[in-house]
């Protein structure tokens, strides 16, 4: 069903205001797919009917559900593999080189969706830096409460664990419960989940050694990308590392970050010249 321009504009404004995500008009076809379950769940006969329901109510949980439903939540364990190879072979050894053992690593997965990214980092830490893992703090944030709730449960289906997760790690760190796989508490406890909308001002947090901000900036407009990167720059230690998605660069703030080749992957560090 084609949405009337007025309905599409309403939804576009709602999503942009509350998540900073820009819905490209060329991707209008996604609207029906993503909102379909909510349309049925709330007894509406059609998508326009559901949008009328949203517009007839003051801003509330239903609007936030609709915004969350429009976000792309696709993620999988060790997604794209190269960033994780870079993390274990270059970044972690560099950060741990001269660090006192009691000074733990601070890592932030800034758009963690259903948790596969921060849990991949946690497993990788246990595998490649077992001595540093107990002192490490992994913060994982997302703006979608339902995704965070699923992430906190740390229970995944067969399709989730079948993709990207080495079988050796699946057998070592998961408990099988029928068709589900539950992450062992020792790994799940390494990650703290918090709700955070990257597009609005963030509460104060300790400076980070590593920030994963992958496949997020591509959904923002130029101004929002610049604002988010400015805050990311402040949140990162001067010797910290920023991991972006394969289609992303800090081009909106390009003098603030320097690219660093870590094997086949390009990560970023705060530029020594840029003011902080």
């Amino acid at each position: 069903m084609t949405l009337a321009p007025v309905d599409f504009d309403y939804l576009r404004r709602l999503v942009k205001t509350h998540s900073a995500i820009v819905i490209d008009p060329a991707k209008a076809y996604l609207v029906e797919n993503r909102l379909g379950p909510l349309v049925r769940q709330h007894g509406c006969v059609s998508l326009p009917d559901f949008l009328r329901l949203l517009q007839s109510q003051p801003l509330g949980p239903l609007h936030h559900e609709a915004v969350a439903a429009m976000a792309n939540k696709e993620t999988w364990f060790f997604r794209d593999s190269a960033p994780f190879t870079a993390l274990s072979q270059y970044v972690l050894p560099e950060l741990l080189k001269n660090r006192p053992r009691e000074r733990g690593l601070s890592i932030w997965s800034a758009a963690c969706s259903t948790g596969q990214e921060p849990y991949s980092i946690a497993m990788l830490l246990r595998e490649s830096c077992p001595a540093a893992a107990p002192q490490a703090s992994i913060l994982a944030t997302d703006f979608c409460p339902a995704a965070l709730e699923r992430a906190s449960r740390a229970i995944y289906g067969q399709m989730d664990v079948n993709r990207g997760l080495p079988a050796a790690l699946l057998t070592r760190y998961f408990i099988q419960r029928g068709l589900s796989w539950q992450l062992k508490p020792e790994i799940a406890a390494m990650v703290n989940f918090r709700r955070l909308n990257l597009a609005v001002a963030w509460p104060a947090a300790p400076p980070m050694d590593i920030i994963f901000l992958r496949n997020v900036l591509i959904y923002f407009d130029s101004e929002t990308r610049r604002q988010v990167l400015t805050r990311i720059h402040r949140a990162l230690r001067p010797d910290g590392f920023l991991f972006l998605g394969s289609a992303e660069t800090p081009r909106d703030l390009d003098r603030a970050f320097e690219p660093l080749e870590a094997g086949t992957y390009l990560c970023y560090q705060p530029s020594k010249q840029a003011p902080r």
Binding site: W76, F78, S81, Q158, M159, N162, R163, G164, L165, P166, A167, A168, L170, T171, F174, Q176, L179
Partner: protein
């Protein structure tokens, strides 16, 4: 890269052959463990995808047989199976499997698992740009 698909199901052999061919593999297929052993010498594959449940020599016995031969030490062996129990998975890894794919799967699952196993599987975008 050369791959050998071993599965007693003709449709599964076809699916896996197509999946691998789309990423540039040269693919041969065998309907049984014994056929696979005969074809190993001729095909000299870099990768063997092995179903577990097959009549005659099953996939686990084939895995052990291949791993027993030093000339095949570098060949990547990946189980592709409906056996989804952790015990079987652990057993296969201990016997020398490099990775384990549970059926059903999507092509992306196969490509990601092969990358995990250390094979240079190109991404779709790089093929489109080539």
């Amino acid at each position: 890269m050369r791959a050998l698909v071993v599965d007693d199901s003709a449709s599964m052999r076809a699916i896996l052959k197509r999946t691998l061919a789309e990423r540039g593999f040269e693919v041969a297929a065998a309907p049984s463990g014994l056929d696979a052993l005969r074809m190993m010498a001729q095909q000299n594959p870099d990768l063997v995808l092995i179903d577990w449940n097959m009549p005659g020599m099953n996939g686990f016995d084939l895995l052990r047989e291949i791993r027993r031969q030093p000339s095949y030490a570098q060949v990547k062996l990946v189980m592709v199976t409906t056996e989804t129990n952790k015990a079987e998975m652990t057993h296969a890894l201990a016997a020398g499997a490099d990775e384990y794919i549970m059926k059903p799967f999507t092509p992306d699952v196969v490509y990601d698992k092969l990358r995990v196993a250390g094979l240079p599987v190109p991404y779709a975008e790089s093929i489109a740009c080539a």
